[in-house]
């Protein structure tokens, strides 16, 4: 035997509560006032009510309160009209088209249903209902009615309404605490007051929006993505989705945000230190692989700047998740002296198709067809490297090297610090004008043009930074005269391609303490 249809208690036009199951056989029909076919069905339902109303309940559940009164008055109806304008009963009864007519027994179990108007189905249903009651037929002139007439989509399937209903349903995936904001309060101001913001306005994370965001991933909403420093808070997919909504993400960006969070919440990346340091460091995210185009990321004109929604909001969503869940806030664990605007957001894609080199993710061991996000802990940048004159490949490579000298301080050499070099297309064209120019050759050139004797690193009257005098005093002449490049090894020079076809302006990001004593860059495959 069927289980009873979901119970309800709804108000009729006189303000009285009506409960289902009714304790009697019933015909329940969902109608919408502005639906042509519902207007065809309404007088038929009235005939049912007039005929069987003594022994059974014939009710209309209307999808707008005003529409109920209009429908009743238009057709001069007397049967009960119940207000289902919240659409909760329609959602629970799970149909698609109005009119939707249900025949139930006294316990509320469904015996038959029909959607739209198929005359034969309505006629059969009415005949069976009369037979069950042992009553005569209702006076309906069936042959005068059209054999078939399509109905309208039920209001509860409107996307906005359906998302709200799903969020409120008992099996909703939403578990986060709900915060009610009084209608007198300004929502944007309320969220600032609660400390949810990075200083910019937020999109209110309503349950409907979060549900839509969760559709961007196949992962379970309650799966824990990462433990977020510094407070070591478990980040569920749902919590990440809430912050992604606030940041302005579209659902298809969510897998990138999740992978980025996984990347930064590793011991190797050391998000605690990156978020806390007085130097002011921030994750810089680079996206590779097919997802770049699928979600419309920018890797060309203004790749490192504003106006692209994916670039802007993915980085921001990571930031909001780390600050709201992990608690990394300025004045708390974040002790940045000046901090960096990259903490608002810094995410872009590599223009792999324009590059002669293996893309970043392939260099790091992934397949070209994988979508991957790589996080670098960076403290400065993008610093422009301007050279509009050089045409020879080694000249361009030389300028790119000189442009990296400013990392930390120009006098600092042999730095065990990462740099991320973003080569623009015009520089790339010059670089490869005489044939292939490998990344290894470019790294060698950078080291060669930045090489200086060690003695230039010794503390002096101009700058006390570098090799302390006491240490220098113990060094041999040969050691002091040894020529050293800017970086401790080639591994610290990371190279990607991005930017517009016009302009000889590459750029560099400068790292933080790199490696086990600080932060190592981490890549994560993006799983949709």
């Amino acid at each position: 035997m069927n289980a009873p249809l979901p119970a309800f208690s709804l108000v009729d036009l006189a303000g009285g509560a009506r409960r289902f199951p009714t304790g009697r056989p019933a015909l329940i029909c969902f109608l919408k006032e502005d639906c042509h076919t519902c207007n065809l069905a309404a007088p038929i339902l009235e005939a049912f009510h007039q005929t069987w109303g003594e022994a059974a309940d014939v009710w209309v559940l209307g999808q707008s309160a005003d529409g109920n009164a209009i429908l009743r008055d238009r057709h001069g109806l007397t049967l009960p009209f119940l207000d289902d304008s919240a659409c909760k009963t329609a959602f629970a009864w799970d149909f698609e088209i109005v009119p939707a007519l249900f025949r139930t027994d006294a316990l509320g179990r469904m015996l038959a249903r029909t959607e739209g108007f198929v005359r034969q189905e309505w006629e059969d249903l009415a005949r069976d209902f009369a037979a069950d009651l042992g009553a005569g037929a209702a006076p309906v002139d069936w042959p005068a009615l059209p054999p078939w007439q399509p109905g309208c989509g039920s209001k509860h399937l409107d996307p906005d309404i359906n998302d709200r209903l799903q969020a409120e349903a008992q099996d909703s995936p939403i578990r986060a605490r709900r915060i009610e904001i009084a209608s007198a309060d300004d929502i944007a101001e309320f969220m600032f007051d609660q400390g949810f913001s990075d200083g910019l306005p937020l999109v209110p994370p309503t349950a409907e929006r979060v549900l839509r965001m969760l559709r961007g991933t196949h992962r379970s909403p309650q799966a824990v993505v990462a433990i977020v420093p510094p407070n070591l808070a478990p980040a569920t997919v749902e919590k990440v989705a809430i912050n992604a909504v606030m940041a302005g993400c579209r659902p298809e960006y969510l897998p990138v945000v999740i992978a980025a969070l996984e990347a930064v919440c590793t011991d190797a990346f050391n998000m605690h230190g990156v978020g806390a340091t007085t130097m002011g460091a921030s994750p810089v995210l680079i996206v590779n692989g097919p997802i770049r185009s699928r979600i419309g990321m920018n890797m060309k004109l203004a790749a490192l700047g504003p106006d692209n929604r994916a670039n802007a909001t993915i980085g921001r969503a990571l930031r909001l998740t780390v600050r709201n869940l992990g608690g990394a806030r300025p004045g708390g664990v974040d002790r940045s002296t000046l901090s960096t605007p990259m903490k608002f957001t810094m995410c872009f894609a590599e223009w792999e198709e324009r590059s002669p080199w293996e893309p970043l993710h392939v260099e790091r061991g992934f397949k070209a067809e994988d979508s991957v996000v790589t996080a670098f802990a960076m403290t400065s940048g993008p610093v422009q490297i301007v050279d509009q004159e050089s045409r020879e490949p080694d000249q361009v490579a030389g300028s790119l090297g000189l442009g990296l000298e400013g990392l930390f301080l120009p006098k600092i050499r042999r730095a065990a610090i990462d740099a991320l070099l973003v080569v623009c297309p015009e520089h790339l064209t010059s670089l490869t004008s005489a044939g292939p120019y490998s990344k290894t050759r470019l790294r060698e050139r950078i080291q060669a043009v930045t090489a200086r004797p060690m003695r230039e690193m010794v503390a002096n009257a101009i700058s006390g930074a570098g090799i302390p005098l006491a240490v220098a005093a113990r060094m041999t002449e040969a050691q002091l005269n040894a020529s050293v490049g800017k970086f401790a090894s080639h591994d610290h020079i990371h190279i990607v391609v991005a930017g517009s076809e016009a302009g000889k302006f590459s750029a560099a990001f400068h790292g933080w303490a790199t490696g086990a004593m600080g932060s190592a860059s981490v890549s994560r495959k993006i799983e949709c």
Binding site: R178, I179, E180, I181, F196, A207, K239
Partner: protein
């Protein structure tokens, strides 16, 4: 009325009480160097001052592997097991 979802960590942290102040210092005083530059200079000076003022107390030195990361759990346990007091040199 609008309802939004909480974007923060909803866990309620355990409240920890400050250890009662006895007005005296005895036992083991730990000095933790987090490896910030010149933190050792400050702690060397503190060690000699403490030794002069509290000759009964024992001063022990500890070091984090790096200031850029949280204190490793085993070092934290070691310090809490061995020390009655701890002074941490935080910044440059």
């Amino acid at each position: 009325m609008t309802t939004i979802l909480d974007p923060t960590d909803e866990r309620v942290p355990v409240e920890r009480q400050t250890t009662p102040r006895t007005g005296t210092i005895s036992g083991v005083i730990g000095l933790l160097d987090i490896r910030k530059p010149r933190g050792n200079v400050l702690l060397d000076e503190m060690a000699s001052l403490l030794a002069a003022r509290f000759p009964e107390a024992e001063v022990r030195r500890y070091e984090k592997p790096t200031f850029t990361k949280p204190c490793p759990g085993d070092l934290r346990l070691k310090i809490s097991a061995e020390c009655d007091f701890l002074v941490e040199a935080l910044a440059d």
